[in-house]
Structures are given as C-alpha cells and as structure tokens.
Symmetry: C2
Subunit: 195 residues, 2 copies
Amino acid sequence: MSTEALTPDRILEATEEVLRRYGPGKATVVDVARALGVSHGSVYRHFRTKAALREAVTERWLEQAVTELAPLAEGPGPAAERLTTWLSALFAAKRRKAGGDPELFATYEVLIGESSAVVAEHVDHLVGQLARIIEDGHRQGEFAAPESGFTMTARAVFDATDRFHDPVHAAEWSAPDIDDAFAAVLALVLRGLRA
Amino acid sequence: MSTEALTPDRILEATEEVLRRYGPGKATVVDVARALGVSHGSVYRHFRTKAALREAVTERWLEQAVTELAPLAEGPGPAAERLTTWLSALFAAKRRKAGGDPELFATYEVLIGESSAVVAEHVDHLVGQLARIIEDGHRQGEFAAPESGFTMTARAVFDATDRFHDPVHAAEWSAPDIDDAFAAVLALVLRGLRA
DNA sequence: CGAGTGACAGATTTCAATATCTGTCACTCG
DNA sequence: CGAGTGACAGATATTGAAATCTGTCACTCG
C-alpha cells in the first residue's frame, strides 16, 4: 500500500479518524497503522511514542480554535465590544463543539488532560489575543492602565471567564441560566477594565 | 454490640471513617456495618440507599466550610476588605484541604461529583454570604448599585473566582504563579464592583 | 411493637489467565 | 542507503467465572 508516501500529516489524519471512531481508550497505534495499510513500526518512525502522536493531534485541534478567533481580536471597533465578541465567540465555539458531538468532545477532553504543556501554550496564545484587545482599549482611552501589565490583566480576564471556556465545566454549559451567568461575569469584568 | 443506640450520626461517622480508610471506590455499606458491629440491613433502616448515605456525608462535610466562612462574611470593616478576606479564606481552606490530605480530598471530589443537588445548595449558601458582603458594600457607598440584583452579582463574583475554589481545578493550585493569578482576578473583580 | 437480623436475587466487582498493545531492533528490498 | 517490516519482551487490556455487594423482606426477640 505504498501508493502515497507516508507523511506525518497522513498519519495524523488517520489518528484523528481512529480516535473519532474508537475513542481515546481504545484507539491504538496498531489501529492507526492498520487504517493506513502499513505496519505499526512505520508509525514509530515518524512519532517517537504514542503520547507524542496524540500530542500532535491535540496541537492541531487547538490550533484551529486560535485561528478562528484571531480575526475577532484584530478587527476594528471599540475594545469593549471586541472583548465581548471575542469571549462570546470562544464560549459559543466551545459549547457548539461540546453539544454537537459529545463523544468527540469527550475524546479531546481526555487528550487535553494528557498533555498539559501543549494546552499551556495554547492558553498563552489565547491570552495573547486578549492582551492585544485590552492594550488597544487602553490606547483608545477606553480601559484604565492595568496595574501589572497587559498580559497579567488578560490572564485575569481569561481566568475569570474560566467557567465558560474550560472543558472541565462543559457539563454546566447546558444549564438554563448559563447565559445569564456569562453575561453577569462579562459585565463585571468589563466594569473592572473600564477607565 | 448494642452498647450504644444506632443513630444516623453514628452511622455517618463510621461511613466517614470507612471512606477515609478505603476510598470512595472500595467503601461498601457492608464495611460500614462491620465497623459498627451491626448487620448491613440495620444501616438500610436509617438510610434508604448507599447513595443517600454518601450524600449525607457530603452534606456534612460541605456544611463545615460554610460555617467556617460565615463570621468573615458578617464581620465589620470595609466591604472590599471583607470580600478579599472571605475569598482568600475560601481559597486557602480549599488549598489546605487539597494539599494536606490529597487522598481524602480526592475521595470528597468523587462524592461531590455524585450528588450535584447537594453541591448546588452549598454553592447557594456561599453565594448568599457573598451577596451579604456586596449588599453591605453598596449600603456604605463602597460598591456601585448592581445592574441585576445582589445575588446575581454575587454569583458573578463566585463564578469569576471559580478557578480558585472549584475542586476540579485543584491540580492547578500548586502552580508557582497561582497567587499572582488569584490577586489579579481579585483586583479585577474589586474594580468591577467599586462605585 | 419496632429496632435489628440474615438469607436471598440480581447487579457489580475481583481475579487470574489470555490476548493485545507499545516500543525496539536487526532485517529486507527498491 | 534508508523507508518500511515484523518478531519480540515487557506492559497493559480483555474476558468470563467466582466472589462480593446492594437492597428487600419475612422474621426474631427484648
């Protein structure tokens, strides 16, 4: 089955497929190899361990969210509005993924729990986007000067809204009053940022 | 072994002991009965199911935290200071319990996950204490009038600090920068509340 | 009478044998 | 040469039979 070259990308695609089909508990490297029509030894030539393979899949998946949100962070308009839009989009995207395909979401929850380093980097990217919005807001006189740097403040905003984007809270996202709760926290945060 | 009457309280104590010793996975009603020197049928005379028994233990444990914090919510002084003290005490207590006896904490994490209704009531109590502080702050002109009621605002404060009291985040509480993160969120929240 | 018992049925858990998987490496073959 | 192989050792997962547990209830006995 060597009609196509065995690239890391092809392996990652097959791994995603296997994870989607069998879930995180039953997806094996042998399954991935079988799906590609090669021996599992070949997979190990491209990824040193099963953990590295799963990490690469996780990285890919998280990257998607970052690029989806980037335009919202850079767009024009008042910072408060952009912040609202950005946080709402983050929340909506997470909810959509959690509600739309709960099994796949659960799979990624497991993967995320396995590789905290990858997640930390992803969070840093998101906080970076938040920091940019807040910095813009300050430049336009909309937001007060932060006491301890834009990144620290962005981090605080990210932490304060944790309940609305951290997958560990996914079960709470279908509660009837979750939108009110989100609006209340968002309002509190915006008041805290304003000049 | 009928030297003492078999009361719900004695059963609960024995259950706690058994949970502490064997953990949530291996603690059985038979174990509890054995520890009390009675048959397990007797335990079922006081608690309809094993789940009800566990719930009662959880309730008792959570109650403890509420009564510990109550004096801080009612004490004198500026509301901002009381809020800081209260939230810091909540965070400190959780950290102490998580770090001091991780196994026991893990046990209670499991119990908490089992009975969301009990937890919801407990959260309501805590939010009530927060609401009292915020209401006092408003009465003294320290805090602005909340847009959507004191309870809703208190809930927002509770949600915004979720990362620092929700057991699902316990693993993050030993990170080196967690105190800075807490201080940053607290500062953001206080700015959001101020008049 | 009524708190406590213990045997019971069906559900759940344990345990050990068996199968599968992970990661390595000497090897093949284009 | 070097991408891909497949047999292998040790680790992990599966399986089904046996043991234990949950919840009930007719019963005992002070």
